[in-house]
C-alpha cells in the first residue's frame, strides 16, 4: 500500500532502534506515556516495544475513549437502548464495554435493537430509513471524532430529520492529562502526544506540559516509524536537557489545529461542568454535551435515564497504573477478581489496556527481559 508501507520499513526501523539505544543513558530507567489508544494499538500491532531497550518503558495513557467510559454512562445507554421505540447505534468497540449489569451486546441479546455503525452519518441514514423509530447515536471519542458528530448533528438539523438523537459522551484530552500531571506520585519522563486529536486541536493546547510541568511532549503519527522517531525525539530532549513541544506528525498536524472543525464543535457542543472517568474519577470540564441550540436532539434530555453514578470498585487501582506508580500485577484485584472476561477497571476493559495486555502477554514479556 502506497503512503503506508513507507512508514513500516523494517530497515529504517532497525536503524531508528539503534539511534534510540545510543540516546539512552545506561542505568537510567525511562517511562514514556503514549497518551492515545491508537498509539497503544500500533505499538502492539507492530511490536514496537519489542524494539526498545529494556530501560525504556512505555506506559499506556488515558486516551482510549471506550475504556474511560464509566459504568453509569453505559447503564444510561443501555436504558435508552432497551426502549422499544429506539434503534441504538454506536461504534463497534463500545459494544463490549461493561456497565454495572452487562454490556450493550448483552442488551442486544435481551432484545434491544443495538446496531454497530462506522460513522455518525451511518446512524443518520438509519434514522432517515426508519422514520417511525427514534434513532439514538451513542457518541464517544476525544476531539478526534467529535467534529464528525458535530457535522452530523448540523446536517440532521438542516435536513429536518426529527427522529435522530445523540447521547453525547465526547471527552477532551487536556483535562485528564492535567489531572495525571497534578498527581504527586507521577513517575513519567515524557509524553507521546496524541496525533489524531492534534489534527483537530493542534499542538498549542499541550504547551502547558513542558511549560508548567517540565515534561517533553512529541506529537506523533501512528505508523511504527512515527512512534520510534517520536520516542527518539523525546529521549534526545531528555539527553540534551531540553523540554518542549515537538511535532513529529507535521505531515498531518498543523500547529494551530483545524479551525473549521473547532468552529462546528463550538456551535454544537458545550463543556460539561464535570464528567466521570473510569479509573480517574470526576474531572471538571473534561467532556462535551450538546449545546442549548441542539437541546431538542439531545437523547439525555429526551429520555429519562437512571443517571446513577456507579462507583469504580474500591479495590481497583487503575488510577495508579495509569500514572505509572504501580505495575498491573501489583494491583490487589489483578488476575483474581479482575480478568479480561470479567473486567473491573478501565485498564482491563480494552484488550489494549495495560492490565489486559499484561494478563495476556505477561509471561512472554517476562521471558523477553531474561533474554
Amino acid at each position: 500500500m502506497r503512503y503506508v508501507d513507507e512508514f513500516r520499513d523494517p530497515e529504517l526501523g532497525r536503524a531508528l532502534a539503534g539511534e534510540i539505544l545510543a540516546a539512552v543513558e545506561p542505568g537510567r530507567h525511562y517511562k514514556i506515556m503514549e497518551v492515545c489508544g491508537g498509539h497503544t494499538h500500533s505499538i502492539y500491532k507492530y511490536g514496537v516495544d519489542d524494539l526498545l531497550p529494556a530501560n525504556v518503558e512505555l506506559v499506556h495513557g488515558p486516551g482510549c475513549p471506550v475504556c474511560v467510559m464509566p459504568m453509569g454512562r453505559v447503564d444510561d445507554g443501555i436504558a435508552i437502548a432497551a426502549r422499544p421505540e429506539v434503534i441504538f447505534t454506536c461504534f463497534g468497540d463500545m459494544l463490549r464495554i461493561p456497565g454495572s449489569d452487562g454490556t450493550l451486546l448483552d442488551a442486544k441479546a435481551e432484545g434491544a435493537d443495538v446496531r454497530m455503525v462506522y460513522s455518525p452519518l451511518d446512524a443518520l441514514r438509519i434514522a432517515k430509513q426508519n422514520p417511525d423509530r427514534d434513532v439514538v447515536f451513542f457518541a464517544i471519542g476525544f476531539e478526534t471524532t467529535a467534529p464528525s458528530t458535530a457535522l452530523t448533528m448540523r446536517r440532521a438539523r438542516m435536513e429536518g430529520v426529527e427522529n435522530f438523537f445523540c447521547m453525547c459522551n465526547h471527552v477532551t484530552i487536556v483535562p485528564p492529562l492535567r489531572a495525571l500531571l497534578d498527581s504527586p506520585d507521577l513517575r513519567l519522563d515524557g509524553f507521546i502526544g496524541p496525533g489524531h486529536v492534534s489534527t483537530v486541536v493542534g499542538a498549542r493546547p499541550f504547551e502547558f506540559i513542558p511549560a508548567d510541568y517540565g515534561k517533553p511532549l512529541v506529537v506523533a503519527g501512528f505508523e511504527p516509524l512515527d512512534l520510534l522517531q517520536s520516542i527518539h525525539m523525546i529521549l534526545r530532549q531528555l539527553a540534551e536537557g531540553r523540554c518542549e513541544i515537538e511535532n513529529q506528525y507535521k505531515r498531518v498536524v498543523p500547529y494551530e489545529g483545524n479551525l473549521r472543525a473547532l468552529e462546528v464543535m463550538s456551535e454544537v457542543f458545550e463543556l460539561r461542568p464535570h464528567f466521570e472517568w473510569r479509573g480517574l474519577g470526576f474531572i471538571s470540564q473534561s467532556a462535551l454535551k450538546l449545546s442549548d441550540a441542539y437541546a431538542d436532539l439531545d437523547a439525555e434530555r429526551r429520555y429519562s435515564v437512571p443517571g446513577v453514578r456507579v462507583a469504580d470498585p474500591k479495590a481497583c487501582q487503575c488510577g495508579e497504573v495509569l500514572k505509572g506508580v504501580i505495575k498491573p500485577w501489583e494491583c490487589k484485584v489483578f488476575g483474581t477478581a479482575c480478568t479480561p472476561e470479567h473486567a473491573i477497571g478501565t485498564c482491563m476493559v480494552s484488550p489494549e489496556g495495560a492490565c489486559a495486555a499484561y494478563y495476556n502477554y505477561g509471561r512472554f514479556a517476562r521471558e523477553r527481559e531474561v533474554v
Binding site: 523494517p10 526501523g13 500491532k45 511490536g47 463497534g92 441479546a109 464517544i140 489524531h196 511504527p224
Partner: protein, 364 residues
C-alpha cells in the same frame, strides 16, 4: 535487594495464578447466549468445553477435531455437521448453497477423510422467492458434483416470515478415512513448518463488503471451494510427515493456530511478512481496523508438516488449482507453550491471542 526478590516472587506467584486459571477447563456461566458464543473465539470454546463436551462425554467430541470418528462394523468413518446462516445468501464468489457443501466437505478433508456423502436440511423463510431457492439448489448440486459427494438424504422445514433470514442450511457429511493420514493436533513437534494454502481473509472481507454497510468499492470474492484436492496432494506428498490440517474458517488463521497451540502445548511462531494476502483485502482491513489473520476463509487450509517433507508439501500444494499462492508462514517452537507469536513485518514480536468475540472494528 531483598525487596527486589520479594517483588519478583509476588509477580511470579500472580503469573502462576493466571496460568492455572487459563489451563482450567472453562466453565459456562453466562446467563444468555450472545453473538460472541457463535464467533469461534473464547466464548465459543467455553460453550463447547464447558457445556457440550461434559454433557455428551463422547470420545470423538473430546478429540475436538473438525470431524469425529465413528466405527460401524469395523469400518472407521468420519462424521461431521455444520449449519450455514450467512447474510446475504448470495455474495461475490459464491452463495450459501455452495458454502453448505464445501464447508462440510472441508471439515471431512481436514480430518484426512475422503468426502463420500452429505445430508441436506433446509430451513426456509415463508415468502422466499422460488427462484432464490432454485438458484441455491443448483449451487448445491454443482458444488456437490465438483467435490464428488452424493446428497444422500434431506429434509425441508418452512418457518414463518421473520423467523429465519431467507434460508438456513444444515449439512452432515460422511467420509472415508484415508490410509495415508496420521493426523492429530497433539502431533505437532518443534521444528514443524506451517503452510497456508493461499491468500487469507477473502471470504470474510467479501461478505462484509457485500452487506453494504460501508461504502468501499473493492472487488473481493469469496474463496469458497472444496479443500479435498489440497488435502489429497498434501497426504500424497508428505504422508505421515503431515501432522495436522485445519480449514481456517470462522475466526480465521489466528484462531486455528491458537487452537492447535493449546491442543499441542507447543509455541507457534508466524512470520507476518510471509502470509499471503490480496492487496485489496489488506487495504479493506486497514480501513476497517480489522486484522485479516482473524477474518474467515472458506477455502483455505493451514497445514503442519515435519521439516523433512515441508518443501515437497509446499510444492505439491502450489500445484493444486486455486492454491498457487500457498506459502510457508511459520514454525512450531517450544517456548512459550500454548501461545502464538507473530514476528511482525516491521521486525517486532507480539502475541496473537484468541478472539473474545466477533472482531469488532476499533474507533481510535
Amino acid at each position: 535487594m531483598a525487596d527486589q526478590a520479594t517483588v519478583s516472587d509476588r509477580e511470579q506467584r500472580i503469573l502462576g495464578i493466571i496460568e492455572t486459571a487459563r489451563a482450567k477447563r472453562p466453565k459456562f456461566k453466562d446467563a444468555q447466549i450472545t453473538m460472541a458464543h457463535g464467533a469461534g473465539g473464547k466464548a465459543t470454546q467455553t460453550l463447547i468445553e464447558g457445556l457440550f463436551v461434559p454433557a455428551f462425554g463422547s470420545g470423538a467430541l473430546e478429540a475436538m477435531g473438525d470431524a469425529g470418528a465413528v466405527s460401524v462394523d469395523g469400518a472407521r468413518l468420519a462424521l461431521t455437521t455444520d449449519s450455514f446462516v450467512v447474510k446475504p445468501i448470495r455474495f461475490p464468489g459464491g452463495s450459501i448453497g455452495e458454502l453448505a457443501v464445501n464447508g462440510t466437505v472441508n471439515d471431512l478433508a481436514m480430518a484426512g477423510a475422503r468426502p463420500v456423502a452429505l445430508s441436506l436440511s433446509l430451513i426456509l423463510e415463508e415468502g422466499l422467492p422460488a427462484d432464490d431457492l432454485r438458484a441455491e439448489v443448483e449451487a448445491i448440486a454443482s458444488a456437490a458434483a465438483a467435490a464428488k459427494v452424493e446428497i444422500a438424504a434431506g429434509d425441508t422445514k418452512v418457518v414463518e416470515r421473520g423467523h429465519a433470514d431467507s434460508m438456513y442450511i444444515c449439512t452432515t457429511g460422511v467420509g472415508h478415512f484415508d490410509a495415508r493420514a496420521e493426523l492429530a493436533p497433539s502431533a505437532l513437534r518443534p521444528g514443524d513448518r506451517i503452510l497456508v494454502s493461499g491468500r487469507i481473509g477473502d471470504h470474510g472481507t467479501a461478505i462484509m463488503l457485500a452487506r453494504g454497510e460501508f461504502e468501499l468499492g473493492a472487488e473481493i470474492e469469496s474463496d469458497t471451494r472444496s479443500l479435498w484436492p489440497a488435502a489429497d496432494a498434501l497426504l500424497e506428498a508428505a504422508g505421515p510427515s503431515l501432522r495436522c490440517m485445519r480449514d481456517a474458517t470462522r475466526g480465521g488463521v489466528a484462531s486455528v493456530l491458537n487452537e492447535l497451540a493449546r491442543a499441542s502445548t507447543a509455541a507457534i511462531v508466524v512470520r507476518e511478512g510471509d502470509v499471503p494476502i490480496d492487496p485489496a483485502v489488506a487495504g479493506a482491513s486497514e480501513i476497517l481496523g480489522i486484522d485479516p489473520m482473524y477474518v474467515a476463509n472458506e477455502g483455505k487450509l493451514v497445514a503442519f508438516v515435519a521439516p523433512d517433507a515441508a518443501d515437497a508439501a509446499l510444492a505439491a500444494l502450489q500445484a493444486v488449482p486455486g492454491c498457487e499462492d500457498a506459502a510457508e508462514i511459520g514454525e512450531v517452537k517450544t517456548e512459550p507453550p500454548g501461545m502464538v507469536l507473530v514476528e511482525t513485518a516491521f521486525g517486532g514480536k507480539r502475541v496473537m491471542d484468541q478472539l473474545v468475540g466477533d472482531p469488532l472494528p476499533r474507533i481510535c
